[in-house]
């Protein structure tokens, strides 16, 4: 009986610490979920004289993928994105974050280009508006231009199958 209280406290602590272990402190919930994607107007990587703004994608479900040639985990993600882009399920727009345009172009020509287009955010100010803090990041944006999901860290086959594809299907079913 005497040991019951300390034992109880111990079990409660173990449970809480166990939950704590499973949480990823890098996953900061984005306050942008359910809100319109912050607007920007940036030059395109392959056609700097043309600009792109998120409004251009109104009426479509699309992915905004933040990437950079200096980003190591973007490399692993890139193969997954290439394959996913080929399946034609969704258009992916790249936000080339704080990168050298020449490096970025070389990177895409070597590793393949899954993007409908990429925009250059050399200063990182659009990234700041998007709350980017760990490249790569991926935003799922619906037909109304609302951010519905944000993935911090690389897209991999697991989260693609479990999170992104099912969400895209629901969003495609929504009225524009």
């Amino acid at each position: 009986m005497r040991f019951l209280i300390p034992l109880g406290i111990f079990i409660v602590m173990v449970v809480f610490l166990g939950i704590g272990l499973k949480l990823d402190p890098r996953e900061v919930p984005s306050p942008l979920i359910g809100k319109p994607v912050p607007t920007f107007k940036l030059p395109q990587l392959h056609a700097p004289e043309q600009t792109f703004a998120p409004e251009d994608m109104k009426g479509k479900v699309w992915l905004l993928n933040v990437w950079a040639s200096w980003c190591v985990s973007c490399r692993a993600e890139h193969a997954v994105l290439n394959q996913f882009a080929k399946s034609g399920q969704v258009e992916i727009v790249g936000l080339n974050y704080k990168d050298e345009p020449a490096d970025a172009q070389r990177w895409l020509s070597q590793l393949g280009n899954p993007y409908k287009l990429s925009v250059m955010d050399v200063q990182g100010m659009a990234g700041l508006d998007l709350g980017v803090y760990g490249v790569p990041e991926t935003f799922v944006i619906d037909k109304k231009g609302l951010v519905r999901h944000k993935l911090t860290g690389p897209v991999d086959p697991q989260n693609l199958q479990a999170e992104i594809i099912p969400l895209l299907q629901t969003l495609n079913g929504e009225p524009g």
Partner: protein, 150 residues
Amino acid sequence: MKKLLLVALLLSQSVQAVTEVYSFSNPSYELRYQALTEELRCLVCQNQNIADSHAELAQDLRRKVYEMITAGKTDEQIVEYMTDRYGDFVLYRPPLNPKTMILWLAPILTVLSGLVGFGFLLRRRRQVDQQPSDAELQRVRDMLNKSDTK
């Protein structure tokens, strides 16, 4: 050698982490800049504020704070700008709302439960210290007498 190391360690503390220098037209701006950058958390190296962090994101955020201050924005507007993008997480002092209730109440609850526990302990000890009542003494005597007669 050990002393030398100690001295080196002590000196290393005084090194300033921030690399870029901003000039402010108004001394109060500078104070606000310092206060704000110390209150805002760097999201890349999560246990540092943006004043101390070398991360590029922290540099960008510092620049943003500088720009907003010189543009005449209030502290509230700057904090709102940051929380709109990065959430309450960016604040080292999160606001009191239903989500952060536990965070704010936990210390108070811990102290209270400690006090209650301590109170119980004191009461129990006082009970032990109390003199036995006459009736209790009589019972003990009876018992002793009984065992004597056996």
